[in-house]
């Protein structure tokens, strides 16, 4: 059929030039200690040499019709779950493959859990996997598809800008490996500020961006919206001013798939305009995916070069006057001191905070438990009959469950507040930390594994408590979840024991021993939970602080070295001026390469790729 193998590596003049230019930027970034920049450029250079299928990410706000669009593209209306009330909560990578298979990657595990393709909704949809309680990190789906066979992988992503902030982060993470972005917005209204901000962020790294206007079947005014969008983009996002904007109707495409052969079907197929989208995916990205990767790398090279040039200008300006250097140094030193002072105290401060959280929880537990005992005992004392005896266990269970939920909720809130406060003292905003979710898990208990134990001696065999594995667990991957105090649920009180009580005295002693046993068990679990929460918070904040201190120290070392000796300073200045001169030459070349007409670029790619299947 068509050229699947076009992405294979191979040398060419332009190719070598691109790589050498990028290498210059990378080396310079390394040379002045911007390891972060160097690392991303390196990754892009590597990716350029790969011939694997193009990774095309579909992103946009929730409920714009991303999943539906992908289903239509793959001729599979039921592949991804679609319903106005269901949205995608984790990203799904689709690639060509037979037999069809679903692989689910849970938390930090590298070994996927095999699953049936038709079970996909239970992992990816927000309705069946709310707040991603199943800890799904990513889902891979092998699908038999002619489109995918042409060198394409499609990624469906959770909507950005939705209520669950984790969704947006998932999507941005997916973008960091993407070769191209299909931005999906529906025809219900013009593009909004948050959508444009997302596009701006994405276009820093991704050169190939296609804009798609969905649901044109349902909006008679879609042409106006499309025009308005174009005007807005021209005015506010120069980089995207000339990006293609394709209006599509996934619904017409799906209808065409179901229709009998004939002119009607052809017409629906044509007017769905999915063909335009397909040809962009194939001819615009997949065929020239090497070119797309090159352009992404160039795009990154440009922005990295601009960053470096700004740094050079600042440094040289500072070095030109001794006072400039000195003031920069003292400023950095003050920043570091402040950071260290904060860093010295924060662990003990956190410990203090958390031990008061613990104290509060333990006392809440204590007062709560004795209040439960008192209430139930009073009721027994007031009246005693068979019905009350029968209802005793149930009543206790209700009381204790209510207490548990209260404690769980206040504990989850305290954890959240403590972490926020500790972060604020360190001037670390929540954005800089990996997403953490503090859950009270009462409602989700059914999804966790249970381990039943029986506690208490025979006479006081009051009830069984239920333990779960892991009270506070840090799951790796893009999402950390702390599960607060899930262990207490008193699933089975010893109903028999309650029924065997003969009179009020026995019943009262049953109650107090049952609550007592529950309380001591709960106490242990509470302590364990707090400890787990503390470890997690410490780990997250600690890493962020260390990173900060390391960067600052490095800057200071550098400045100190410079100010200590005129000779070194001169050397350094020479080096940076050299860098700057070199980079000023490189920068326009990068631009020129980016500005190459697509046809020429494709030609180089084609020349560069003598038919060799993807590595």
């Amino acid at each position: 059929v068509t050229a699947a193998p076009a992405g294979a590596p191979g040398p060419s003049v332009a190719d070598a030039e691109v790589d050498s230019l990028l290498a210059v930027v990378q080396q310079q970034a390394d040379g002045i200690g911007r390891v972060d920049l160097a690392r991303t450029i390196d990754a892009e250079r590597r990716r350029r040499t790969l011939g694997d299928p193009a990774l095309i990410v579909f992103a946009g706000e929730p409920n714009q019709g991303k999943s539906r669009l992908i289903n239509s593209l793959l001729d599979r209306p039921d592949l991804l779950p679609v319903d106005g009330d269901v949205s995608t909560g984790v990203h799904v990578v689709m690639q060509d493959g037979a037999p069809e298979a679903l692989r689910v990657f849970i938390e930090s595990s590298e070994t996927p859990v095999p699953a049936q393709p038709d079970e996909i909704a239970s992992y990816v949809s927000v309705r069946d996997n709310p707040a991603n309680v199943k800890g799904v990190r990513r889902v891979e789906l092998d699908v038999r598809s002619d489109l995918l066979a042409r060198g394409i992988r499609l990624v469906d992503t959770p909507g950005v800008g939705g209520l669950d902030a984790a969704h947006g982060r998932f999507t941005l993470a997916a973008l960091s490996e993407a070769d191209a972005l299909v931005f999906v917005a529906d025809a219900g209204g013009p593009i909004s500020q948050p959508e444009l901000e997302f596009l701006a962020k994405a276009s820093d790294r991704i050169d190939s961006i296609l804009l798609v206007l969905t649901k044109i079947d349902n909006h008679p005014g879609w042409r106006d919206v499309l025009e308005e969008n174009r005007v807005l983009l021209r005015a506010q996002a120069a980089r995207l001013a000339d990006a293609q904007f394709i209006p599509v109707s996934a619904k017409l495409a799906a209808a065409a798939q179901g229709a009998p052969q004939g002119p009607m079907r052809d017409r629906m197929r044509l007017e769905s305009r999915l063909g335009d989208l397909e040809s962009w995916l194939v001819d615009g990205v997949a065929v020239g995916r090497r070119e797309a990767r090159t352009r992404n790398a160039l795009r990154l090279g440009c922005s990295a070069a601009d960053t470096l040039l700004a740094v050079y200008d600042d440094t040289i300006a500072a070095m030109s006057s001794p006072a400039g250097l000195a003031s920069q140094l003292s400023q950095r030193q003050a920043e570091l001191d402040r950071l260290k002072r904060a860093a010295d105290g924060w662990r003990s401060r956190l410990s203090d905070d958390l031990s008061s959280v613990e104290r509060r929880a333990v006392s809440q537990l204590g007062t709560g438990a004795s209040a439960v005992t008192r209430r139930v005992e009073q009721r027994i004392a007031r009246q005693w009959n068979a019905a009350i005896r029968e209802g005793l266990a149930h009543e206790l269970e209700l009381e204790l469950t209510a207490l548990e939920l209260d404690i769980q909720q206040s504990l989850a809130g305290s954890f959240r507040d403590t972490m926020r406060a500790a972060g604020a003292r360190l001037e670390i905003s929540e954005v800089e930390l990996p997403p953490v979710q503090f859950d009270s898990v009462g409602a989700l208990a059914a999804q966790l594994e249970y381990q039943s134990t029986v506690i208490g001696d025979d006479a006081g065999r009051a009830f069984r408590t239920v333990l779960t594995t892991g009270t506070a667990l840090l799951t790796g991957g893009p999402m950390a979840i702390v599960r607060v105090l899930i262990a207490l649920t008193t699933i089975g009180l010893d109903w028999g024991g309650a029924r065997r009580t003969r009179d009020q005295t026995e019943a009262r002693s049953f109650v107090s021993s049952a609550v007592g046993a529950w309380q001591s068990e709960a106490n242990l679990l509470l302590l364990e939970t707090v400890r787990g929460g503390r470890n997690l918070i410490e780990e997250l904040l600690g890493a962020a602080v260390e990173q900060r201190i390391a960067t600052k120290t490095q800057e200071i070392d550098e400045l100190t070295r410079l100010s200590s000796s005129q000779q070194q300073q001169d050397q350094r200045r020479q080096q940076i001026e050299g860098f700057r001169t070199e980079l000023r030459e490189v920068r326009p070349k990068l631009d020129a390469l980016l500005a190459r007409p697509a046809a020429a670029a494709a030609a180089t790619s084609a020349a560069a790729a003598p038919a060799a299947p993807g590595a």
Partner: protein
């Protein structure tokens, strides 16, 4: 913000004393007692502010001279508060660009007056009030006003003869809309607009910096489940100018549920989404209730725009063998060569949308041949009634308390601009007002406000219970009981809850703020218990006698 310069006939009439607005009327008495005191020292200081209430400068003071500082300015502000307290509740329609605010407004007033369309149509803040005479005017940035002549069909003209940049706001009085007798509606340009001047206008209308008085009392917030919407609600809750008990004064509207998918009836789907959104932790405390509505169809049905010729077109369409194909896409309906209905189909599509058109076809096929019947059927299908009752439920019983609470906050701020002894006696008067037993509704709102703006952290059951108390009307709703529960049951539950709230308020290690919230809650339950046969039961006294004011 002052009341606009409307013809006297169009001014709303003050509510009778001891009516449902008792709190506001009481506050007006306090203000009346202070106006002469404040006026006195200003007598010699010129300016000649005639005490006619409203606009002492002849023109509108809004945005122009804030009058801060001088006692005379304070007196003018006091008069403005006085007027506001006797006016209907001000409810703004707010939401993102193209969320359907104007469409919803038209549906609410039952008339196709605000311009609507796919792109950004509303670029000016527009006030809709009730009154006796239909009247429209624009207020210009320079403080002057000009009359606006509506088109023959009662719409705003396509272009006003003044550049938009010079217009501060539009004001309309509509005698025909019953809703406007109870509240003033404010249509606003979309938020998150890429046309910056529009978002700017909205921000100005919703939070007039420094005016010291909220421009609106409550919100109809059109939402879609976006993070940015939560940010807006957060911003409102930090803005001193809107009463912050959002769980009581914000109704969320999912207004385009027909545009998400068509696997299920749109209202069903909308209800599921609304329920899911309402349970979101980020929205739970910020919105009283979320209701789905199909705005476009509600607008069309409410403003009775369908004609017999539309039914003819629907009949033709129903008989067209290609109908299923045509209904696949808006473009097919409007462009197809098939002759059934011709231009009439485009009109129907504009009035009803694709799914609404399908529903209209279904009604016609089922034998509907009367315009009123068709309108009624479509109105029912649109979910408008659910929205209307949510608005009454949420804003109706509490309009008095919401207005009073925002006035108290503003008056407290204002008191610091007065001479010390006058200011402190105003504050004393306000505090006395707040702790009076009759002001318990205010304290409930106050407690909710503490939770919403994060000043007090309480367990979920407390916030849930408080929201129920504040939002419910009648003992059953306030306790969350089924309407058929009898007095004994009501009494039992109320006492139980009062005890639970008491335990919460008095437990060790509880913070002062949450103890106060617990006390308010306990008093509310004790009052319910007392109303439902508490007198016969000894326990009622126990529950009630420890009642102390939980006021700030």
């Amino acid at each position: 913000m002052s009341s606009p310069d409307l013809p006297a006939a169009a001014r709303p009439v003050a509510a009778p004393v001891a009516g449902p607005d008792a709190l506001c009327v009481e506050l007006v008495r306090i203000i009346d007692a202070f106006i002469p005191v404040v006026d006195a020292p200003a007598a010699g200081s010129g300016g000649g502010g005639s005490p006619n209430g409203g606009s002492p400068n002849g023109g509108s003071p809004n945005g122009g001279s804030p009058n801060g500082g001088s006692p005379n300015g304070v007196a003018a502000q006091l008069r403005q508060h006085r007027i506001r307290l006797l006016e209907p509740l001000r409810v703004a329609l707010s939401g993102a660009v193209s969320a359907g605010k104007s469409t919803l407004l038209n549906a609410l007033v039952g008339r196709d007056i605000a311009p609507t369309g796919a792109a950004e149509t509303t670029q000016l803040v527009t006030w809709y009030r009730g009154g006796d005479v239909e009247y429209a005017q624009m207020r210009l940035v320079d403080g002057t006003t000009r009359q606006v002549h509506l088109t023959e069909s009662g719409q705003f003209p396509d272009s006003l003869d003044v550049p938009a940049a010079q217009i501060e706001s539009l004001h309309v009085v509509l005698p025909s809309a019953p809703l406007l007798r109870s509240m003033t509606l404010v249509d606003t340009p979309g938020l998150f607009s890429l046309r910056d001047e529009n978002s700017e206008r909205t921000r100005r209308a919703l939070s007039p910096g420094g005016s010291g008085y909220p421009d609106v009392d409550a919100l109809l917030f059109l939402l879609n489940g976006q993070q940015s919407e939560v940010q807006i609600l957060d911003a409102f809750s930090q803005d001193a100018s809107l009463v912050q008990a959002q769980a009581a004064n914000v109704v969320g509207v999912l207004s385009k549920v027909d545009q998400v998918g068509d696997e299920r009836p749109p209202l069903d789907l909308g209800r599921d989404r609304a329920a899911r959104l309402a349970a979101e932790p980020q929205l739970r405390l910020k919105i009283a209730e979320i209701v789905p509505v199909i705005g476009l169809v509600a607008q069309t049905a409410r403003s009775a725009q369908l004609r017999y010729r539309d039914i003819e077109v629907l009949r033709l369409l129903a008989g067209d063998e290609l109908v299923e194909f045509l209904l696949m896409s808006a473009d097919y309906l409007t462009e197809s060569e098939s002759q059934a209905g011709g231009a009439g189909r485009t009109r129907l599509l504009e009035l009803l949308g694709l799914q609404g058109l399908r529903e209209a076809l279904r009604l016609v096929r089922a034998g509907c041949d009367d315009v009123d019947e068709l309108n009624a059927g479509l109105l029912g299908w649109s979910g408008f009634e659910g929205l209307e009752s949510a608005i009454w439920r949420t804003f109706g019983p509490r309009a008095d308390a919401i207005k009073a609470l925002s006035a108290i906050a503003a008056l407290q701020r204002l008191s610091y601009q007065l001479p010390d002894h006058v200011g402190s006696s105003l504050r004393t008067a306000l505090e006395g007002f707040l702790v009076a037993p009759s002001a318990h509704a205010l304290r409930e709102l106050w407690a909710l406000q503490q939770i919403v703006n994060g000043g007090v952290t309480v367990p979920d059951w407390v916030s849930t219970a408080l929201i129920q108390i504040v939002n419910g009307s009648g003992g059953h709703a306030r306790l969350g009981l089924a309407p058929d529960a009898d007095d004994a049951e009501l009494y039992r539950v109320a006492v139980e809850q009062a005890q639970r709230a008491h335990r919460f308020a008095t437990r060790p290690l509880v913070s002062q703020g949450s103890a106060a919230v617990g006390e308010v809650l306990r008093t509310s339950y004790a009052n319910i218990a007392a109303q439902h046969g508490g007198a016969q039961h000894g326990a009622a006294e126990r529950a009630v006698d420890s009642t102390t004011a939980g006021a700030p």
